[in-house]
């Protein structure tokens, strides 16, 4: 019989077994797991102020309540990630309330203000679809048991967000006229932002520790294709144009990827291709709403602290 000592960590991973506790992990695995959880927790957390600032423009009380319920879900999802991080030795309080706004690790897309109900529902239809692809992959493949199991409820709730996005997008498109034009404008700037959400193309990304440690199962391009294969047909079905088309088994973008983005104007310049270095520089500098959104949940924290 094989003694447990002789079974290396790598062998456990290769066998497809689940890692259940910190004591089983190598330092590298722990670091990569924490990094992945921070990106996930930060993304869920920042979606709350991003969506809240737009949900205020809801066209009815019912619509507002749906928006608020989605925000509550996102906060609960963030809590799952931060709670696991705490069990892995990080401080939730430091992560949420003590970090500099620029140190948060969520996708750049959230830094561009969502300013209307239309932009909010397009975010539900496209950003939440991106979250659904990424988290669905982690739920299917992740080698860390507690996180994999914690995602069951998250996936069901993300589905509710997607439905809100799709139902409303369809309804706004059917309304036609100025409402439909506003929807098309929102998709025009938000679609490429979600495409870049999945990160560097596989041919530029030579090594992925996340894949090696089975923290996720699909590559950036595989996840991007999965997203395109749901969003492109949906948008076309409601009469909204998207800059991508199906070619054989894959989806192809109809613009240079990457290219330059003017965040204050919410406008892509498809005639101005750029390098991934300049995209990374834009991401690192963060976008227009970064500080305002982080302040929304940080500013009152110290005010109500009871001093020891």
């Amino acid at each position: 019989m094989e003694s447990s000592n002789s079974v290396t960590f790598e062998t456990l991973l290769k066998r497809g077994e689940l890692i259940e506790s910190r004591s089983e992990m190598t330092p590298d695995y722990l670091r990569e797991l924490k990094h992945t959880l921070i990106v996930s927790g930060d993304t869920e957390l920042i979606s709350a102020p991003a969506y809240y600032l737009a949900a205020r423009k809801a066209p009815s009380v019912n619509a507002f309540m749906t928006g608020i319920a989605i925000i509550q879900d996102e906060l609960a999802h963030a809590h799952i990630a931060y709670h696991i991080l705490e069990e892995l030795g990080e401080s939730q309080e430091a992560l949420i309330f003590k970090r500099d706004p620029k140190a948060f690790r969520y996708p750049y897309a959230f830094d561009v203000p969502l300013e209307s109900w239309t932009e909010l529902v397009v975010a539900n239809a496209m950003y939440d679809q991106a979250g659904f692809c990424l988290l669905g992959d982690i739920h299917d493949q992740c080698s860390y048991g507690p996180w994999k199991r914690g995602l069951v409820k998250v996936m069901a709730e993300e589905n509710f967000h997607l439905r809100n996005g799709r139902n409303w997008s369809k309804r706004i498109s059917q309304a036609g006229g100025a409402a439909r034009e506003e929807l098309q404008r929102a998709v025009d700037w938000m679609f490429p932002l979600t495409v870049e959400w999945f990160g560097l193309p596989d041919d530029l990304k030579q090594h992925s520790a996340q894949l090696e440690y089975r923290l996720k199962g699909l590559t950036n391009d595989q996840l991007r294709q999965q997203w395109l294969s749901t969003v492109v047909p949906f948008m076309e079905s409601i009469g909204i144009r998207v800059p991508a088309h199906r070619d054989g088994d894959a989806y192809v973008l109809d613009y240079p990827f990457p290219c330059t983005f003017d965040a204050p104007a919410k406008r892509w310049d498809f005639k101005d291709p750029c390098t991934w270095d300049s995209v990374m520089a834009r991401w690192r500098a963060r976008g227009p709403r970064n500080a305002e959104m982080v302040a929304l949940f940080q500013e009152s924290f110290s005010k109500f602290q009871v001093r020891a």
Partner: protein, 105 residues
Amino acid sequence: MTTALQTRVWAALAEINDPEMPVNLVDLGLIYGIEVVGGMVRLRLTFTAMGCPATDMIMGDIRDRLLAEPGVESVAIEIVWDPPWTSARLTPDGRGALLAWGLSV
């Protein structure tokens, strides 16, 4: 007397899941009554809370599904708050589904 169409309407409603939880509308206890007159279905519906965020989705799902049922020409939904919904309205299957999903009911 329960007509054949009424039976099919109940079965159709049991195919519709709540948008937030893996339980169907009949097992969740949201349907207070159905009346079928000719091709018109009158349905008395409640929600689990007045602040339910999914009212539009649930009503949309009901209309779409029932209008796909042969013989149904129109659907009239009356929202009922009395008696209020409580977890006592869950069927045993509904209770089991929510327990399995991790809700204490």
